[in-house]
Symmetry: C2
Subunit: 412 residues, 2 copies
C-alpha cells in the first residue's frame, strides 16, 4: 500500500495552483456557485427520456461519439439549431455546433485556439470568475471594461481598443456575457449590441459571447444574440444546459463557423463529451424544454423576490442592488467599510457561503465591498435565515448594518 | 447570419494542430479506436439503473458535484475502492480516487501536474497513441523502452535511467500499461513489476500506471497493480469504464495519495465530470459489474479468435502476431515491404480502417510494417470480410500476401 513516502514535490511543474481542500459538504446557507433549484430538476421526465433513448439507441454507446461523430449527439445539435434560431435569432447548421463538457470546456477551447501568454483581451470589469481565473492562469492581460445598466460600456470599449491600437496591441477577443450578465444581471439592448459589433469589426477584434444564462429571463424577452446580429462573422458563441436543466449534467456548446470549429475540434482531445447526458438531454428537450424553462424561471423569480425582501429587512439601506433581468444571482453593494473577502470567511464560519466581489471583478478595489448572492439553490426559508445570519456577521465584523432588522422594524 | 468573412487566421495561437476533418460516418470495416461490442452494452440494466438512481437522487443534479464534492459521485468511488482491492490489490480510500471524464482527462491531469516543455519521460516503445500525441503536443522528450512478451524491458529501463542520470536529467515519470499492454496485449509478470518498482525508487522517478484494459483478461487472472505493490508510494494509477461498460460513457478515474490528488484536483477546473453517467454507472456496477465483465470478455475472446483465423486464412504467414492475453486489439507484423501508413490510406478507400503502427510507437521505423487491429466493434462476419478486403488491398499495393487465401488453401 502506498505510504506516500515518495516525494513528488521536486517533480511538480512550476506555478501550480494551490492544492484543493478536502470536501466537507455544502454550507448550511449556500449562496455560491451556479447551483439550481432541486425541486425543479425534472426528474420524472429525465427518467422517461433516459428509458426511451437507451431502449432505442443504447447499443450505440459501444462507439465513441455514438453514431454522431465528434461534434456531439446529432439530435441534441438539431434541438439546439432550432432553439437558437427561435430564441436567439441564430441561423446555424448542426455542423456549426460543437457539444462540450459544460460551457467551461467551451471557454478552454476558445482560449486554446486564440490565446498565448502575454496576449490581451477585453472583458466586462465584473465578470464570471471562471473566465477571470482562466485568463490569469494563462498569463493574459485582461482589460476590464466598466458596466452600466445596459451592460458593457461601448464608449469604454472604444477607448480601450484605441489605446491598445496606439500601443500596437491587437486584443484577441472581447469576452462578454450580454444576456443576463454575470454578476450584474443586465441585458444589453439591441442598439448597444450593434455598436459593439461595429467596434469589433472596425478593430478586427472578435467577440466571444457567453450566453449561459440567456434562457432564464423573467419576461422571456431577449434581443438577438451578437452572433445572430453580426453580418460579417467574427463572433464565437457559447451556451449551456447547466442553468436550464441541471448543473451536474456537464453539457454546453460552442457555435462557430466550421473553419473555426474544426480548429477547436482538433484541440478537443477527450474522445467526446459524455454521451448518456447528451442523449438524455436531447430526448428530454425535444418534448419538455419549452415548458420546463418558464416554470423554472418563475420559481427563480420568486426566490429572487424573497432574497431582495430579506436583504431589505436585514440590511436596510446598507445593501444596494439593481434588480436583475433574469438569472440566479444578485450583485450587492455593501457600505465601503465592508471587505467582502473577509466577510466571506467570517460568514462561512457561521454557515453562510457567499461570493466576494473581488473574485468577480478585474478591479479588486471596485469589488471589495461587493458580493454575489446566488438564490437558486436554497429554499425561501433558507434564504431568509441565511440573509439574517449574514447581516449579523456583517454587523459584528464591520458595524453595518447598524441595527438588527427587528429593532429597526420595532422603531419604524 | 455570420458569413465567416471575419478573418480569424492572424489571431490563432501558434502551432495549433491541423483542423479536424468533417465526420463522414464509420467505415464499413472498423478496426480502429477503443470501440466495443454493441451487443454487449448492457442496455436493459442501464435503464434499470438510470431509473432507480434518478428516482432516488435525481434532484441532487441541481448542485455541481451532486452531494459528493469534486472527487466525483461517492457511491462510484466506493465501488471502485472495493473493486480495486479485489482485482488489483489496491488498498485506497474514497479520498484517494478522483473520477475523471474518461481516463484521457486523467492523462491530462497527470501531465499538467508533472510536465513542462523539454521534460523527459520513459514510455513503452509501443504505446497508446493518445499518450504519445499528448507528449508530442507538450514538447516532451519521450524515451521509448523496447517491449518483450513480459512487457516493458526493465534492462532497457535501467539503461535509459542510467543514461539520463549521466546527462543530469531526471525523468518525470515512467508511463506504462502493464496489464494488457496497448498495443501488444502482454501482461507484465509480478517479478518484473517488482524490478521496475525497484528501479523507479532507486532513481526517484515515479511510475504512471495506466490500467485501462486490465479487466478484460481471458483467464481473469492478473498480478497486483504496481500501485498496490509499491511499499513507498511513487505510483499514480489510472483506469476507465470505457472498455468494460461503454466507451461513449466518458468515465475514468485516477488513484493517488491525497497530497498528489489535491494538486491534480486544483487543475480540474471543469466544475465536475458528468454526474448522470457516474450515477448510472455506480448503480449498474454495484449489481452487475462482476457478472457483466466475464460475459463481455468471453465475447471479445471469440472475436479475437475470428480475427486470428481470418488473418491466417487471408494473410497466411505474412501476418505475424502474438496472441494477446486480453483486451480488444491485436498487434500485427506484416512483411517489411509493407508501409502501414500507406496501407491504411489505401485500405480506408476500400472501407477498411486500421491503426498504422507508427502512430502507436516512438520508433517510426519499428512501427512502419506493423498495425493495430481492434476487433471488439465489428461483428465476426464483418471481421472476416474486412480482413479479406485488407489482404486484397495489401497485395495490390505491396505484393503481399502473395496469393489469395483460396488459392493457397486449394493448393495446401
Amino acid at each position: 500500500m502506498p505510504s506516500g513516502s515518495f516525494d513528488f514535490a521536486p517533480l511538480l511543474t512550476p506555478s501550480l495552483p494551490p492544492p484543493a481542500a478536502k470536501w466537507t459538504g455544502f454550507p448550511k446557507y449556500n449562496f455560491i456557485g451556479g447551483n439550481n433549484d432541486p425541486g425543479h430538476v425534472p426528474v420524472d421526465e429525465l427518467i422517461t427520456a433516459a428509458t426511451a433513448v437507451l431502449a432505442r439507441e443504447g447499443s450505440t454507446l459501444a462507439t465513441y461519439g455514438l453514431n454522431s461523430g465528434p461534434l456531439g449527439y446529432r439530435p441534441l445539435r438539431e434541438f439546439l439549431a432550432d432553439k437558437l434560431k427561435r430564441t436567439a435569432g441564430i441561423a446555424c447548421s448542426v455542423e456549426e455546433i460543437l457539444i462540450t463538457s459544460g460551457s467551461l470546456q467551451g471557454l478552454d477551447l476558445v482560449n486554446g485556439l486564440l490565446l498565448a501568454p502575454g496576449d490581451t483581451v477585453l472583458i466586462e470589469q465584473e465578470s464570471y470568475q471562471g473566465a477571470l481565473t482562466r485568463l490569469a492562469r494563462l498569463g493574459i492581460n485582461a482589460v476590464g471594461i466598466p458596466l452600466d445598466d445596459d451592460g458593457m460600456r461601448v464608449d469604454a470599449v472604444a477607448a480601450a481598443l484605441d489605446d491598445l491600437e496606439r500601443r500596437g496591441i491587437r486584443a484577441k477577443y472581447i469576452y462578454i456575457i450580454p444576456t443576463v450578465q454575470n454578476p450584474t444581471g443586465t441585458i444589453m439592448g439591441e442598439a448597444r449590441r450593434r455598436e459593439l459589433l461595429r467596434l469589433s469589426q472596425a478593430h478586427h477584434v472578435p467577440i466571444f459571447e457567453d450566453d449561459c444564462y440567456a434562457d432564464l429571463i423573467w419576461d422571456g424577452r431577449r434581443p438577438p444574440a451578437l452572433y445572430a446580429m453580426s453580418d460579417r462573422g467574427g463572433v464565437i458563441h457559447i451556451g449551456s444546459f447547466s442553468k436550464t436543466i441541471a448543473p451536474a449534467l456537464r453539457v454546453g456548446y460552442v457555435v462557430a463557423p466550421w473553419d473555426i470549429l474544426s480548429r477547436m475540434l482538433a484541440l478537443k482531445t477527450d474522445a467526446g463529451s459524455g454521451a448518456l447526458e447528451q442523449m438524455v438531454l436531447a430526448e428530454f428537450c425535444a418534448c419538455h424544454f419549452n415548458k420546463h424553462v418558464p416554470e423554472l424561471t418563475r420559481a427563480l423569480r420568486a426566490k429572487l423576490d424573497t432574497l431582495m425582501d430579506a436583504l431589505a429587512e436585514h440590511f436596510g439601506t446598507a445593501a444596494e442592488f439593481d434588480e436583475p433581468k433574469g438569472g440566479i444571482f444578485l450583485w450587492v453593494k455593501l457600505p465601503d467599510a465592508v471587505d467582502t473577502p473577509k466577510l466571506a470567511q467570517a460568514a462561512l464560519a457561521a454557515g453562510v457561503a457567499i461570493n466576494p466581489g473581488p473574485d468577480w471583478s478585474t478591479s479588486k478595489t471596485y469589488g471589495k465591498s461587493r458580493l454575489r448572492l446566488c438564490f437558486a439553490n436554497p429554499s425561501t426559508h433558507v434564504i431568509r435565515e441565511g440573509v439574517a445570519v449574514l447581516a449579523e456577521v456583517c454587523r459584528r465584523e464591520f458595524g453595518v448594518p447598524q441595527r438588527s432588522a427587528n429593532v429597526e422594524r420595532a422603531n419604524a
